[in-house]
């Protein structure tokens, strides 16, 4: 039955992308995002969601144009993913219940401070130091608050997506920090390769920018403090880069076995050819100085794709604009690609959209496929003073024509998380 053209070099089902949707600070939908991204437009702006006067970082790539029933991370993350999923399913030409599994990368959530303040307002006064939670508990015993619970459950975003889109089985909600979006794609591909399903819905969303989130990253010295002008702060691979810009966004990909996509006459947008991962045990926030795990991750993705490094025509870098990531990522790519690295265009979408954290791996996978589909390489903006120790063709400041047949996309995160994807235009 099964045709050879639908199997990869290891005899596994080839996995196609048939639908994509995206939201970033640049706008809603792939078309608007792509127009902005290829024109070198930044979505980074001064934060208006909460006061920032006394904070060292006052800019971000928040998404503030989606209407929400309540301003919390769960509602925001859900709304983003709902919108990108609608877009992806429409592009894939699928309607009605999806009837395949859902893999969702979502941010860890906690109660909003406004909820803590509201609980304090209806609680008895403090009896002793540090008793706020005892008072909150007493207040909830008096009057429970299911809405509060729903806004702090890690499972509530996938629950709603599963109901809205009719996915099958128990959805997976995952976090591998800044590699989450890539991990979600990996899980979807694995499920199809296992033969358990012929399609999977993969979404990654992050609407978790709050004062506390910003301050926590600030305390770890991870964020850029170059607040003025905001759009110039994110400068991956530049000499004076000083941290990432925290941002929001979401992306959805409809994954299908190539066989099933072709059988139903769907347009194949790209192929998820290979995936690699390797955890790092060096440090909680820092990567191994020799880049060993990142190198192993890229090599594993190439091997999984059945390709060697000469096949890669463009790299969508993790490129966070932190001093350490960009240096480590360059070293790792150099180790894998050697001298030929200088001839491969490498750009960082984060120069324009900031770091969309949980969503980044999927957002950047969508842009990677769009790069191949349109033959346009998005630039790395704010590249006026290159880091002399990083010798890359970053597609500086202005888009360029290019026709890569295969793209590598890297994602690295806190907690030793590393994941890389290889995507191609053609199945073989």
């Amino acid at each position: 039955m099964s045709d050879k053209r639908f199997k990869d070099h290891l005899g596994r089902p080839i996995v196609a992308v048939t639908g994509m949707g995206v939201i970033t600070s640049l706008g809603q939908g792939l078309e608007d995002n792509w127009a902005a991204l290829t024109s070198g437009t930044s979505g980074i702006h001064k934060i208006t969601r909460f006061p920032t006067d006394t904070l060292s970082t006052r800019i971000s790539g928040t998404v503030d144009f989606i209407t929400l029933p309540a301003p919390n991370a769960v509602e925001r993350s859900y709304a983003f993913a709902r919108e990108t999923t609608k877009e992806a399913l429409a592009q894939a030409g699928l309607s009605g219940d999806f009837e395949g599994p859902l893999f969702l990368a979502a941010p860890p959530v906690e109660p909003e401070w406004s909820d803590r303040f509201a609980l304090a307002d209806r609680s008895l006064p403090s009896q002793r130091e540090g008793d706020a939670y005892d008072r909150f508990l007493a207040a909830l015993r008096e009057r429970p608050d299911p809405v509060f619970l729903e806004a702090v459950q890690f499972g509530s975003i996938s629950e709603r997506l599963a109901d809205t889109f009719g996915t099958r089985g128990l959805p997976v909600t995952l976090s591998t920090a800044c590699a989450s979006g890539a991990t979600a794609i990996q899980l979807g591909v694995e499920a199809i390769r296992q033969g358990r399903t012929d399609k999977a819905l993969v979404a990654a969303t992050d609407g978790s920018v709050s004062a506390e989130a910003l301050i926590r990253f600030s305390l770890l010295s991870a964020l850029s403090t170059q607040n003025d002008p905001p759009e110039k702060a994110s400068k991956p691979f530049s000499k004076e880069r000083d941290g990432f810009v925290i941002a929001e966004g979401a992306a959805t990909l409809v994954l299908e076995s190539l066989e099933s996509a072709i059988a139903r006459g769907a347009k194949v947008l790209g192929i998820i050819k290979g995936l690699g991962e390797k955890a790092d045990h060096f440090h909680r926030t820092r990567s191994s100085p020799d880049g060993g795990p990142a190198i192993a991750t890229i090599r594993a993705a190439l091997e999984d794709a059945g390709m060697d490094e000469s096949g890669i025509g463009y790299i969508n870098a993790h490129g966070t604009s932190t001093p350490e990531n960009d240096k480590m990522e360059y070293g790792s790519m150099l180790a894998v690609f050697g001298d030929s690295l200088k001839d491969i265009p490498v750009s960082s979408n984060k120069s324009m959209i900031g770091h969309t954290l949980t969503a980044a791996g999927a957002v950047e996978a969508v842009f990677s496929i769009q790069t191949m589909l349109t033959g346009t390489l998005p630039p790395t903006i704010n590249y006026t003073n290159p880091d002399p120790s990083i010798m890359l063709d970053v597609v500086p400041n202005v888009k360029r024509d290019g026709a890569p047949k295969a793209v590598l996309s890297n994602s690295f995160g806190f907690g030793g998380q590393n994941a890389s994807l290889v995507m191609t235009v053609e199945p073989a």
Binding site: P51, Y133, K278, H281
Partner: protein, 399 residues
């Protein structure tokens, strides 16, 4: 019908109020009577919780610096993961750990309750709460606390302490995280995508910040401990949380046999589901899921039910189990360990593996509602019905 890609359990790391490690739990599961479990009724009054036993962290987390980087939730996970690796005989095998896959079911870590209290108390006197928040968070938060809270940093710390670095994935979403973690590991091994995987989770109940979330729907039991199936709406919602760490080493049979590993049990089937629980829809799903048990008679079956204690849900689950698996011995383990949230389903598998391997006649955990076992079981069914959503069933057989 043994097969090379059978998924077998070769390592168990378990910590509950019943004790630290496999032996303590084997002793409990072999005992004549379960008795009244460890319970803490004073510290979080009116909520009883099953506390952590005394743990010498340095047994599994030798570096003080590593211990200091974590709070108890991550420590308990890293400690339990270490126990599982030790038990599987893989702890000192650097190559096996470096190629080992890992899926962790995680919630979030501890908040700094003093800082939170300080902020809300100060805010009661001020109108500029958002400015106050910025000021206090900037000055009062410990920078490293963020890392002790991040969901994926339990896995991150397991990589650092135990050098498990093949891959690292963290699943979230309350009980469903634990179900999906084992389900995903199972299918990856079946399909040859992984040869050995560390899977599990941990949960710390002794935290006011975590008790708070669940009280949003008044899910907690209040007052004195009651056996699981004997709880009623008269004393809260029925759920008693427990501090739990539960990790398993899963391997393909071929991988396990090649290295001569001890096999506790075989995982025959596993599946999770979710959906509306109105009318009899929960019953319909549980009936379908228990259909994974490929048998006509259930006399040699023990069911480790992870029922949360939520009164209505637990009753509904038990009705399905008694009808569908008639003759099986049902044991609601959350009654003696407390409900372990993300760790609940892995905990059920750990108990089932120990019991099948030890050929134990598991004592009744709720003597008024659970029948004694005449003989050790050869098959175990593990269930978890999430306290708000998600359901999962696994079927294990003796090695």
């Amino acid at each position: 019908m043994k097969s090379d890609n059978d998924v077998v359990i070769t390592g168990v790391g378990i910590v509950t109020c019943l004790g630290v490690g496999k032996e303590a739990h084997l002793a409990f599961l072999s005992g004549a009577q379960a008795g009244v479990p460890q319970i803490e009724t004073e510290r979080f009054k009116p909520y009883p919780v099953h506390p952590m036993p005394e743990i010498d962290w340095s047994q599994q987390i030798p570096k003080r610096g590593d211990q200091r980087q974590m709070e108890n939730w991550q420590r308990l996970g890293v400690f339990s993961a270490g126990l599982a690796l030790d038990d599987a005989g893989l702890k000192e095998d650097a190559d096996a750990c470096a190629s080992m896959d890992m899926i962790v079911a995680a919630g979030g870590g501890e908040r700094d309750i003093k800082v939170d209290s300080l902020i809300v108390d100060e805010a009661l006197k001020r109108n500029d709460r958002e400015l106050l928040l910025n000021e206090k968070l900037t000055t009062e938060l410990r920078p490293t606390l963020f890392l002790a809270q991040l969901s994926n940093l339990m896995a991150g710390n397991i990589s650092i302490v135990h050098k498990v670095t093949g891959s690292s994935r963290t699943f979230m979403g309350e009980e469903a995280a634990g179900i999906s973690a084992v389900e995903t590991a199972f299918h990856r091994i079946k399909a040859g995508q992984s040869s050995h995987t560390l899977v599990g989770g941990a949960f710390v109940a002794e935290r006011a910040d975590i008790l708070l979330l669940v009280e949003g729907i008044n899910a907690h039991a209040t007052g004195e401990w009651q056996p699981l199936w004997s709880r009623s709406d008269e004393s809260g919602g029925g759920m008693i949380l427990g501090s739990v760490g539960a990790f398993l080493v899963l391997e393909s049979r071929a991988h396990a046999e090649k290295r001569g590993a001890h096999i506790y049990a075989v995982i025959d089937a596993i599946e999770g589901d979710r959906g509306n629980r109105k009318d009899d829809r929960l019953e319909q799903r549980l009936t379908r899921l228990t259909g994974l048990v490929d048998a006509e008679a259930f006399a040699e079956t023990v069911v480790f039910s992870g029922a949360s204690g939520i009164v209505d849900l637990s009753r509904r689950e038990r009705n399905v189990l008694e009808t569908r698996l008639s003759g099986a011995s049902i044991r609601g383990f959350g009654g003696v360990t407390g409900h372990g949230m993300e760790a609940q389903f892995p905990l059920g598998l750990a108990l089932a593996a120990i019991s099948l391997d030890g050929k134990t006649k598991v004592p009744a955990f709720d003597a008024d509602n659970e029948k004694p076992m005449d003989a050790p079981a050869t098959r175990a069914v593990v269930t978890t019905v999430g306290y708000t959503r998600g359901e999962g069933v696994a079927v294990l057989s003796a090695a």
